[in-house]
Amino acid sequence: MNQRAFDETLHLSPDAVSDEMLARVGLARDEYDRAREMMGRDLTIVELGIFGAMWSEHCCYKSSRLHLKKLPTKGAQVLQGPGENAGIVDLGEGTAVAFKIESHNHPSAVEPFQGAATGIGGIIRDVFAMGARPIALMDPLRFGPITPLTAHEEAEIDDLDDEVKTRARTRYLVSGVVSGIAHYGNCIGVPTVGGEIMFDDSYSTNPIVNVLCLGTVNPDEIVRGIARGSGNPVLYVGAKTGRDGIQGATFASVNLAEDASIDRPAVQVGDPFYEKLLLEACLEIAKMDGLIGMQDMGAAGLTSSTCEMAARGGVGIEMDLDKVPQRADDLTAYEMMLSESQERMVLTVERGRESEFIEAFKKWDLDAVEVGVVIDDPVMRIKHKGVVVAEIPNNLITEDAPEYDRPTKVPEYISAIAELHPEDVVRAATRVLEERPFHADTFPSQPNQPCADLLLRLLAHPNISSKRIVFEQYDHMVRTGTIPPYDGDAAVVRIKGKKHALAISTDCPSKVCYLDPEVGAMWAVCEAARNLIAVGARPLAITNCLNFGNPEDPEVMWQFVKSIDGMSKALGALDTPVTGGNVSFYNETMRFAVNPTPVIGMVGVLPDAEKRVSQSFRASGNRIFIVGDTDYSLAGSTLACYVLQHEAGCGHPSRPDLEMLVLCRDFLLKTMADGMIESCHDIGDGGLAVTAAEMSFGTGFGCEMEVSGMME
């Protein structure tokens, strides 16, 4: 189907709309019928493309919207909840923080460098679209296993192709994603201050590349993505439009394995240098009066940005595509409306003041062109070469987009999870201790001290070992705001000119979520909160990126709904509401869904930037205390699942005690403020042994602990 030769004004009768055409735009036949019925007429190819993009999971959350409503979004500290370019929370002292997390999983699986780089570019635009100065980035990542196969794995894995078995593909993805994030973040001058990296079979051919950005804004200078006042001009700002990423939005909702063939044009290429100019220009005009609204052109480019701005303002937008700056000369209306070329924004300004804004962008050497006008009639009307090629009421592609209550079913594997008894652990441990560790030559094996040997294997596992070789590729110090240590429980960035600092942590124990999605999602929220508390910060609010498999599979939908239930309980107990985020479905490796991965990005405030608590021991003779309850279950732990590779899934994870965590929060923040705490570290993956080891690294101190009485 070649769009160029297509008459884009032709209203296609239903039988002219082939299945291949629907597959290309990402619409199911019943969805197409519903769109045609709501429009009351046949659709043009451009309208087909717009419905396909706007009714994709990525844009309208059709399989998740119903359940997302259960999440708490209210709170005195929340200045902007879900539904905007980014969420905003009040830090106090006249400072607010705009923050959001997004996923770029599918583009990164196809082209890791550009996939990850454009993810960074997009999330930064979401933040400065709110008028906020981006000050920090985080990159929670997940890949397939990277260490060589152990004897045990050799026997287990059979259906994966050899490139995955030999881990070559994973190493290619890891180096591509990391250098892509480094390239974009370093060039634009926003420090990447933290994140996570985890390795698990379920991500072998479908990496999880989530990127989070934070920016600061004065509470009364927040800009919103809204259009208002008929007759007001709509300005297109930034790079020229090309064919990159056509079907990007629908592509993200298309299952990777079957549709690899149509990905050819879907790779978007980012230009961080150009975005740095766009960033400075947009922050400059954000303060000019006459500005009504600003929005980033994200997934589904011109289409989603203009109709979302119009829908928020209860108005319509009429656009003339002849005025859109083009990189290739013969772009069709279909390609222009769906192109995902990077570094572009949409602005609405008061009529008569547009030249002031166009001049401001000229200073930064940027295109700024009036491409449309706000109209009272709440429709999106698109003209190309003087003829209307699309006219769609806003509500059809925003609030009246499909909302599914998909069927759920408890997965078989859940009933197969056996309890993990101590003797299982001992048996698995003795097997492992006989095997030579994967880097035997550098590994100080302890033949007669099994616990010490297991601890060293834990510390050496990529899920736990230092991530220095990664974050030292990121400029994590630019803007001189990052407060060391750089690999502590949470990242801390001071607010220049103010006393306080913001703390941020991204967390998700995805293996625990696999074993029990509800409990796992609760752990994710609790871990993020504990990481903030450990540095002395009060948790305020979260953004979230929910990475799951195919929602049309009832077992995946069950995992999703349970995760939402768990998140709601924990967020409510900790009073950390959701301010926005992203859902990414269709993440699968060879038909198997990835582990449920609800990544939580939590922001907190540290009253005094000078008083950050670090995790390192500071003086001998200091007494060590464990605060809060200790959970002795090994379910989902790196020890049981990766080092011991226990097949039964390592038992059922226990439910975190939320009331206890609230008590710990208030107790620790008080004692820290009073200066009573020398150091503090969250007991995370790897348990007490790994935590104590990490507290002594680089300090020259050791520690002595008597643990025999702990189990009573």
């Binding site: 250098s179 480094a182 370093n186 060039c187 634009i188 001058g189 230009d271 961080p272 240098f273 150009y274 740095k276 100019l277 930064w364 050497d365 030292e472 590729q473 990121y474 400029d475 994590h476 110090m477 630019v478 803007r479 001189t480 705001g481 990052t482 407060i483 060391p484 001071r494 220049k496 930037a609 000078e610």
Partner: protein
């Protein structure tokens, strides 16, 4: 004393240099846009770190031809102080104010961490507050910081004592045999002779890859960079 912080499209450490001079030390500092030409009213010029013009082609290659550079070269020729930090050092080499070139890190990867530096040679107005053979630590953040020069230039720099900073181990040792041999662990990018910073003949122009403006406050990790700015202010 008035500092001029040159801003190229793509510079991102300009704010950090401005903040160090204006907020931390309290001296007068102004941003100078790359299309301006008049530097008369400025005493010290800072070419900050970043990716001027996106660092396409070669780091600093395009910035070299911005209108402001002619005035910076004239400023330096009059013996007035000019410091090039990271990308600024690359621009100084591209425009010939300093010899040699900065090429891609030996590891082919960007590197951002604190490193140890040994202060070697006097004669730069930016380092009078340091004492010879003092060991300091400052952060680096670059992908093309691997200093290269032909053998004659290297010999000249060594003989005339123009190598101001050398990467070194915590105890100060800084050995170099040849570029084919295994480079020492404390050399983050493969720079010949572990060179981290050099000065021009008169000592008014200093180029260094480490970022002194990121080492001006203990809260962000260390203060060893403060004396770069204090030296040029009080001499």
């Amino acid at each position: 004393m008035k500092f001029g912080v040159v801003v190229f499209p793509g510079s991102n450490c300009d704010h950090d240099a401005y903040y160090a001079v204006r907020r931390v030390i309290g001296e007068d500092a102004r941003f100078v846009w790359h299309t301006e030409r008049d530097l008369e009213s400025y005493d010290v010029i800072i070419l900050p770190g970043g990716f001027s013009y996106g660092d396409y082609l070669r780091a600093g290659a395009i910035a070299r031809f911005s209108p402001i550079l002619e005035s910076v070269i004239a400023h330096a020729k009059k013996g007035k102080p000019v410091i090039g930090i990271c990308n600024g050092f690359q621009v100084l080499c591209e425009c010939g104010l300093l010899p040699g070139a900065l090429i891609r890190n030996r590891s082919l990867k960007f590197s951002c961490k604190w490193v140890n530096l040994r202060y070697e040679a006097t004669g730069s107005i930016f380092t009078e507050r340091y004492y010879v053979n003092e060991i300091v630590s400052m952060p680096i953040a670059h992908g093309e910081g691997n200093y290269f020069a032909d053998n004659e230039t290297l010999a000249m720099l060594e003989d005339t004592g123009r190598i101001v900073w050398r990467y070194c181990a915590p105890d100060g040792t800084s050995e170099w045999s040849s570029s084919d041999a295994e480079i020492p662990a404390y050399n983050p990018n493969g720079s010949l002779n572990n060179i981290a910073g050099i000065r021009n003949e008169f000592g008014n122009v200093l180029g260094m890859m480490p970022h002194p403006e990121r080492a001006c406050e203990s809260v962000t990790g260390g203060m060893d960079g403060l004396r770069i700015f204090e030296s040029v202010i009080n001499g």
